[in-house]
């Protein structure tokens, strides 16, 4: 029995290590080579860099307009996130704490959105944005990002708020607080754990989004990080190390974000997938 379990352990660890290596190696290979000059890379793609070459980073930062893309991504991601979470939590509050006609219908409508694939709406959204002259503006991305993530946001927050005891609001009512006052000072503070989850989810989805950006944004000065990077790759095909440096710059913040908030990210993205 003991020998059998030892053998099993060996196989298990070998398998897991192989998996981990396959997951890490492409990233590691990229980061290491981003510190080499182009010639050094083509001569010896597997050695460690002879000395740390930061010229690719300076080059990538300038040539690829990384600061513009970062700024756009930050603005668009955070504005969409703030609007989604604010409107979503307000909607979740009324859906979970009140009874009214059409409550079920409204809730069902919100859930429906989790089944809608974005490409089924892409062409009409493009045409609508064109018609209202929002094409190629930040708002053109903020609106769809908000709309498409309201479903999951409402779903998660509604489920959480529903769990609070019925008499929670009573003290507020006794003090004469209005409906919105109760929402802001009683309900929202205790919803914090669920709010953290939806903030993180909205952040990662908005930050990584590509298809809407590709269709709705054309000016270089408005491009988000994924869109800018993909364009850069198309132009700078000659220099792989420059591309690697640009990708590493974009990769590092997201890896740090992931390592810091791993638990919420994993559980949130899993819930998002399973319910969606």
């Amino acid at each position: 029995m003991v020998r059998k379990s030892k053998l099993f352990h060996l196989i298990a660890y070998t398998f897991l290590s192989l998996f981990a290596i396959i997951n890490i190696v492409p990233l590691f290979w990229m980061v290491v080579n981003s510190f080499k000059e182009e010639q050094e890379y083509s001569r010896s793609p597997f050695s460690l860099p002879s000395h740390l070459q930061f010229s690719n980073y300076a080059g990538a930062w300038k040539v690829a307009n990384m600061n513009t893309y970062f700024l756009n991504s930050i603005i668009i991601t955070f504005v969409s996130l703030a609007v989604t979470v604010l409107l979503g939590s307000l909607a979740a509050y009324f859906l979970s704490r009140f009874t009214f006609r059409l409550r079920g219908t409204v809730y069902g409508l919100f859930l429906l959105g989790m089944l809608v694939p974005i490409h089924a709406t892409l062409i009409p959204i493009f045409l609508i944005m064109q018609k209202v002259h929002l094409l190629d503006t930040r708002l053109a991305l903020i609106l769809p990002y908000t709309a498409f993530h309201l479903s999951l946001t409402v779903f998660i927050l509604e489920g959480f708020m529903r769990g609070f005891p019925k008499d929670l609001e009573e003290s507020g009512v006794m003090d004469g607080a209005g409906i919105y006052r109760i929402f802001w000072s009683i309900l929202l503070p205790i919803t914090r754990p669920a709010l953290a989850t939806v903030v993180i989810l909205n952040f990662i989805y908005n930050w990584n989004e590509y298809l809407f950006a590709l269709v709705l944004i054309t000016s270089g000065s408005l491009k988000t990080l994924p869109l800018g990077l993909s364009n850069f790759a198309g132009i700078e095909t000659a220099s792989m190390t420059l591309q690697m440096a640009a990708l590493t710059i974009a990769l590092i913040p997201i890896i740090i974000f992931y390592l810091l908030l791993q638990k919420q990210l994993v559980s949130g993205m899993t819930a998002g997938a399973v319910k969606g």
């Binding site: 396959i22 997951n23 793609p45 909607a91 009324f94 609508i128 309201l150 994924p226 591309q243 993205m269």
Partner: protein
Amino acid sequence: MHTLKGTKLAIFLGLFPALLIYLGIAIVPIGLSLYYSLMDWNGIGSMSFVGLDNYLDILKDDIFWLSVKNNLIIMVTGLAGQIPLGLVLALLLNRKMKGSGFFRTIGFMPVVISSVMVSMIWGMVYNTEYGMLNNVLGLFGAESWKQNWLGDSQWSMLSISIAYIWQNCGLYMVIFLAALQNIPDEVNEAAALDGATGLKRTLRITIPMIRGTIMVGVVYSISNSFRVFDLIQIMTGGGPAHQTEVMTIYMYNSAFMNMRYGYGSAVSILILLFSLIVISLLNRLGREKNA
């Protein structure tokens, strides 16, 4: 609560902004897609009603069927790669062993990275002249194994599938792992009393216990496969010569490259239909098995 004055108005005001944005941008466009799909329109001139002509044209186009075939390849390889691999990883990590947290962290990492970055990284891995894969093969002296991984139609879909599995596998791993951790201890204890151990217990008891979750994973994997766009658009753009085109890219090209908005809308409706059909078939299948 509902005794408060002005409640109805407050509810309306609270729900209205969210509903407005959501309905206007996520729901109404689906109806518009259906409407545009019956039109011929290049976005500039006038729109003309053409009935089902767009659909008929699409179904007559060989490139469309090529893209359907490629979608099926992604669907099948995705299912065959992500689900079993995710399940095995979850089963291994569910045993309380040293380092399982580390493997979980590494395993989920690609899920968090944007598909744009994943595509670019894998594009460099597959690069014919300077790519990692061909370099590794050269290192082992396997010169004849070197391939033009993305440019050669013999390999391109397989190469894309591998990147696709690499990107998503970790998600299935954590979905299954969460389900495994929800199995009550009593079940395992009872199984142990009955003498079920090792592989037998895994196959007969553990896996059937999470059958529902596996089914959710299968459905998600299928609907995800119809949504693939970023990965292929960036790695190959659907090329060479449409060989790696999937339906979403076919739609994108018809609408935004050839400016045929009606035609593109019809494609998007077909994608929606295809994925709904496959998923409802699967649901029926699941229900019959349960009965």
